[in-house]
């Protein structure tokens, strides 16, 4: 039951990124600033921290493929990048005690990794022609800020949900 709820929550985030968030993040008042929601990655990271690494990785790859199919024209890039980002950040998380500050820091590292991976792959296959300075100056700071805020908002409710889920499975 809780697994189903988790899936539905992630699916809602997936829809949310491409519908509601777009009205907000593509607003002309931001000018050149690109503010990209990576809420799915943040949620998958928290699943891997507080519930189970394997579940987090599976969902990251599954929803990565969905993102590729629905929102992009090249299959595989987001699936690979999301999976790798979740795995690397999870490996890093073993060195830290989990609290709001470290989770915020780790998810920012995750967002940075994901953005960089996709930027590199897309640049290599010639899908985008964004100069590196534009990426660093206009895209990364705003994206990190947006996703950091999202992490802090969902941190307490989502953590307690995940803890209950993993306890429930142990019993």
């Amino acid at each position: 039951m809780r697994q189903l709820k988790l899936f539905l929550f992630l699916f809602l985030l997936f829809l949310f990124q491409g519908t509601v968030m777009v009205h907000f993040s593509l607003n002309n008042m931001w000018g050149k600033v690109q503010m990209v929601p990576d809420f799915l990655l943040v949620a998958c990271l928290m699943v891997s921290f507080f519930a189970d690494m394997k579940t987090g990785l599976q969902y990251a790859i599954l929803f990565g493929f969905l993102i590729d199919l629905v929102y992009t024209s090249v299959i595989g890039v987001y699936a690979f990048s999301l999976g790798l980002a979740v795995y690397l950040v999870y490996s890093l998380s073993k060195f830290f005690n989990m609290n709001a500050a470290t989770v915020l820091m780790l998810s920012l590292i995750g967002v940075f990794l994901l953005q960089t991976e996709v930027y590199v792959i897309y640049s290599v296959i010639g899908l985008i022609r964004q100069p590196l300075s534009g990426f660093l100056q206009w895209r990364l700071p705003a994206t990190l800020a947006l996703n950091g805020a999202f992490t802090l908002i969902i941190y307490y409710p989502f953590r307690s949900f995940l803890r209950k889920m993993s306890e429930f499975e142990v019993q």
Binding site: Q17, G18, T19, S25, N27, V70, S73, P131
Partner: protein, 289 residues
């Protein structure tokens, strides 16, 4: 301290890299044809997206209207002025249309479709790729509504893009700001005989690159650029944008200009999909149909 990558994990990483490269080359090659599972995923997700987008658009529309309320008075004044002119323009338009059809009949060209004639289908935008690198929006019309790959998409203001992948009930529009979608739009400067090609998009400045304009042409800032109707894809005289700056190209043989799109590509809610009547011979390359 546990190692980041053991041998087994290295193998997993390498094989997933190989899969990634295979998938990328697969999707780059078959660009606009979508397989059955792809269509299925696109349509299923599209249904949920539709449910989520409806209230979002209402909310966004509400805030927009509140914002608009502040300049209602000036707008009303302007509209009244325009309206006074409208009756005269309409009468003139009707007369010209009548004369045009009469002349066409005299020339025995009655059944030849015009370069600018087309049929419109309205579609609602239900989702958009959020990463701003892929400039793709999803609309709620698909194969069942007679949509096919390569059809041009416009709004009332001008050209938006063309249809990419088509599902049964939804389809993807790749916008003119998408670097991959531009395979050269043949364009003309309005009220002149100056032709050129739209050949790319500069995302930083938000302008289209209008190139291969003859060096002797008199190109000025502020001129309107429309489609020429000469390529196999787009009907004639769809507004593309306004020229914002003119320069000579790197070899000094032709002129090139920057064109600001007349449509606000960041704010799309409803679009029109065009089925053009005139078929021009396919010039090779491109999507052709």
């Amino acid at each position: 301290m546990p190692p980041f990558f053991s041998n087994k994990k290295l193998i997993v990483l390498l094989s997933s890299l190989i899969i990634l490269v295979a998938l990328i080359s697969f999707s780059l090659r078959q660009s606009n044809k979508s397989t059955v599972p792809e269509q299925f995923v696109q349509d299923t997700v599209g249904w949920f997206q539709y449910l989520m987008e409806m209230p979002a658009q209402y909310a966004a529309g509400f805030f927009q209207s509140v914002h608009d309320m502040s300049n209602v008075y000036q707008e009303n004044q302007k509209l009244k002025e325009n309206l006074a002119d409208y009756a005269r323009v309409e009468q003139e338009n009707r007369e010209i249309a009548h004369r045009y059809h009469a002349l066409k009949k005299q020339m025995n060209m009655d059944n030849n479709p015009d370069l600018y004639e087309f049929q419109k289908r309205t579609a609602m935008v239900i989702a958009r790729s959020y990463d701003q690198w892929n400039q793709i929006v999803t609309v709620d019309k698909g194969k069942k509504d007679g949509i096919a790959t390569g059809m041009p998409v416009i709004t009332a203001e001008g050209l938006v893009g063309k249809i990419g992948k088509v599902g049964q009930f939804t389809s993807e529009v790749s916008l003119i700001s998408n670097n991959r979608s531009i395979n050269q739009i043949s364009a003309i400067i309005q009220n002149t005989r100056t032709y050129g090609m739209i050949e790319g998009y500069n995302a930083q400045k938000g302008v289209l690159l209008f190139q291969k304009i003859p060096i002797k042409a008199n190109v000025k800032k502020g001129q309107m650029v429309t489609t020429s109707g000469l390529s196999g894809l787009y009907p004639a005289s769809l507004p593309v944008g306004k020229i914002t700056s003119v320069s000579t190209d790197q070899y000094g043989l032709t002129k090139s200009a920057e064109v600001k799109p007349s449509v606000d590509l960041n704010d799309l809610t409803y679009v029109m999909i065009i089925d053009r009547k005139a078929k021009t011979p396919d010039t090779g390359g491109g999507t052709g149909h």
